[in-house]
Amino acid sequence: MNLDPLSRQLIDRFQHGMPLCPEPYREMANVLGCSEPQVMACLQRLELAGALSRVGPVFEHSRAGASTLAAFAVPAERLQQVAARVSQYPEVNHNYAREHFYNLWFVLTGPDRQHLEQVLDALEQDIGLTALDLPMLTAYRIDLGFALGESDET
């Protein structure tokens, strides 16, 4: 989608942090010199275009519970079916096809490691493949959003 100036400002200014106060949308409007209804309308446009997933906290996986990155090597003719099956699990929050022998990659989140292992076991039985289970050991950089400008390789 093409971003109007207000959308771009909202993203640049509040992707990394927004006010934690009783009326956050009004505060955001004050910062940008517009009205609260304008902020609301802009957020709704972004959401309808599929560009905004939500507004609110992004949980730190290691503090909020457990997570892991997992992968299956799926025969090409089964990829769509297996991907749909994997996506059905509420513990799966990202699920992508990638160009590799291991061609289906997904992130599992849950309250603790034991829960994730149970889900992985269930998935392996369900699908009949063995998963790579790659929990994070060290974070050198965590995802803090992305810069519209910087990543926009002219």
């Binding site: 997933s53 939500r54 609110g56 906290p57 730190e60 992305f146």
Partner: protein
């Protein structure tokens, strides 16, 4: 002010937060009504959690693809264990890298222990940036692979508290 939510209220609050803030003038008031407390309590709990590091950030959570960032590469490298922290920290500081994690090897199936995400609008540009990044850090000779995503089947926030409800019933 110290938050005084019950464990059940705190868990319910986390579950609401995982779905995103309501888009009403007073979102914390709206959640407070649903969990039978008041806005001050919810905000006090939010501040406490934020200080404790439960949140990476509070803000707009975007979908890269809809914004045109459709070239999404996972760069994986096999870095000698003795060098992993140094290499991880260096790559993690690069503005091209949005995420940089050490993960375990799973030999013989999987040899790579460092994972970096690089996003862009065009595949060839992303490839060029990654080559430049590896050359700048003298890492081109390390075994590495680029895994571009070809399809996104699901993308949403983590569900930590939702699953915890069931688990807590077992003590």
């Amino acid at each position: 002010m110290k938050p005084e939510l019950t464990p059940e209220q705190a868990l319910a609050l986390r579950r609401y937060l995982e779905g995103g803030l309501p888009r009403v003038s007073r979102p914390y008031q709206a959640i407070a009504e649903r969990i039978n407390t008041d806005e001050d309590q919810v905000l006090a709990q939010m501040h406490q959690w934020h200080e404790q590091g439960l949140f990476r950030r509070i803000g707009l959570v975007l979908n890269h693809r809809a914004l045109g960032f459709t070239a999404n590469a996972m760069l994986v490298l096999d870095v000698p264990d003795a060098l992993i922290d140094e290499v991880g920290q260096r790559l993690g500081r690069s503005p091209d890298v949005t995420l940089c994690y050490q993960r375990p090897r799973r030999l013989p199936q999987w040899r790579y222990n460092l994972f970096c995400m690089v996003h862009g609008r065009q595949r060839d540009r992303v490839e060029a940036r990654i080559q430049a990044l590896l050359e700048a850090h003298l890492l081109s000779d390390l075994p590495h692979q680029l895994l571009f995503s070809t399809q996104a089947f699901k993308q949403c926030g983590g569900r930590f508290a939702a699953a915890a409800t069931g688990a807590s019933q077992h003590g």
